[in-house]
Amino acid sequence: MARKEIVNGNEQNDKKLRTKDLIFAGSFGAIYIVLTLILVMVTGAIPVLYIISPVLVGAVCATVYELCVLKVHKFGAALILGILFGVATSAAYLPGMILAIIVALLAELVMAFGKYKSKKMFLLSYVVFNLTMVCPFTNLYFNRDVFIAMATEYNGPEYAAGVASFATGWLPLIQIGLAVLGAVIGLFIASKLIKKHFEKAGIV
């Protein structure tokens, strides 16, 4: 009796997230965030590379994201990634965190246009999702003095001056452009790698 109910429950919930999907989302989130943090921390020593980090992260992490959404192909995978990303990278600045969640929801919307089946929409959604890389920088846009003071304390005055010289009013737009550019590069790599390795292995 009880067993029957369980089986039925699983069939009914096929469009909803199941435990397996949650596990995939959570663990891909861990990979995504570790890669992001490594990239930003190692390249972050040089102000220019720090500012253009959306490109680097987009290029490397696109494959992880694509695998995650292709594996789950339901509503929620990108959202969970976005929430984990927001909490891990912009915990100190609430607007940045909220922005990350909004961006993730937008990415879900793009995928919903393809009814979670269209491969092009999966790819396209990363262009939106990579805007999450702008979120940690919201602190720099809206809270510039504090950010510069912090950079001075951590990395020394030269570094802070370097960051400050880049942090003009145009920076948000430039970084959004960089994030899109990075996502496009990343998608190029991701679609190639997925075709070459994962489709052959029958994982996706």
């Binding site: 435990t19 949650l22 596990i23 989302a25 959570g26 663990s27 992880v64 915990a91």
Partner: protein, 251 residues
């Protein structure tokens, strides 16, 4: 790296609730991103090490504290050392900065990963009537961080074994190839771990939407209350300090 995944031998002097540990993790983010001095981060890091030692991992805590001491010493003597070439000073500043920035986060992740059982983690949050579907991604996220580190080590060793170097020169001149060589094996092996995790949760009956019972004792103890008060104090203190700098004449 001897990471025991969610190794939860309750040999510690105090047992902290997983919820307090998650709060500590979030606070680490706030402290590193809004503290303005090495001293603040150092004091917070020492506090973290003390908590880890009390929770039953004194060796880990001791190693971390020695490392922190060395880094702080280096940072203290750097501005006064004139003789050294500037390249070395730059490299040391760089490495110690990354270290200081990441240390509290890594230590609080250690606290969660090394001293908490996954079932304890799950049941603590279920006791707060948070739905399982919201808890599982977070629990898996923390469970997976050491796995990523492990897989990364494995990939690096395998690459070295085949004579593919991971030097900066290689990364700069062959970025696409490096991405492929690092990412693909890491993702493949992580995915098999994920499949195993999914099977194991299935076996534990997580798929069913019925309230689960647990052997774990979930209770906020005296240590938890003290820590929570302390943490809220730290959050208020750092955010006020941040505002003072914002209002002050810095830049």
């Amino acid at each position: 790296m001897d990471v025991t995944f969610y190794g939860g031998d309750n040999k510690g002097l105090i047992n902290i609730d997983p919820r307090t540990k998650l709060l500590i993790f979030l606070t680490s983010g706030v402290v590193t991103l809004s503290s303005f001095s090495d001293i603040g981060v150092a004091v917070y890091s020492v506090l973290l090490c003390a908590i880890i030692a009390l929770c039953g991992k004194p060796v880990t805590a001791l190693k971390a504290i020695v490392l922190l001491g060395i880094v702080l010493y280096l940072r203290a003597i750097l501005p006064t050392s004139q003789g050294a070439p500037s390249v070395i000073i730059m490299i040391i500043t760089l490495v110690t900065t990354i270290f200081m920035f990441g240390f509290p986060m890594i230590m609080s992740i250690m606290l969660i990963v090394k001293t908490t059982k996954i079932s304890h983690f799950l049941s603590a949050f279920q006791a707060m009537h948070i739905p399982v579907k919201a808890i599982i991604p977070v629990a898996v996220f923390f469970r997976f961080l050491p796995t990523v580190a492990d897989e990364w080590n494995g990939v690096r060793k395998a690459m070295a074994f085949r004579g593919i170097s991971l030097s900066p020169v290689q990364i700069i001149f062959h970025p696409w190839r490096t991405i492929e060589y690092v990412l693909i094996p890491m993702l493949f092996s992580s995915m098999s771990v994920m499949e195993e995790l999914a099977a194991s949760t299935m076996a534990r009956g997580m798929d069913v939407d019925i309230k689960r019972s647990s052997y774990e004792k979930i209770k906020f103890g005296v240590a938890d209350y003290i820590l929570v008060v302390l943490i809220i104090g730290i959050i208020i203190f750092t955010s006020i300090l941040g505002n003072m700098v914002k209002g002050g004449a810095v830049l």
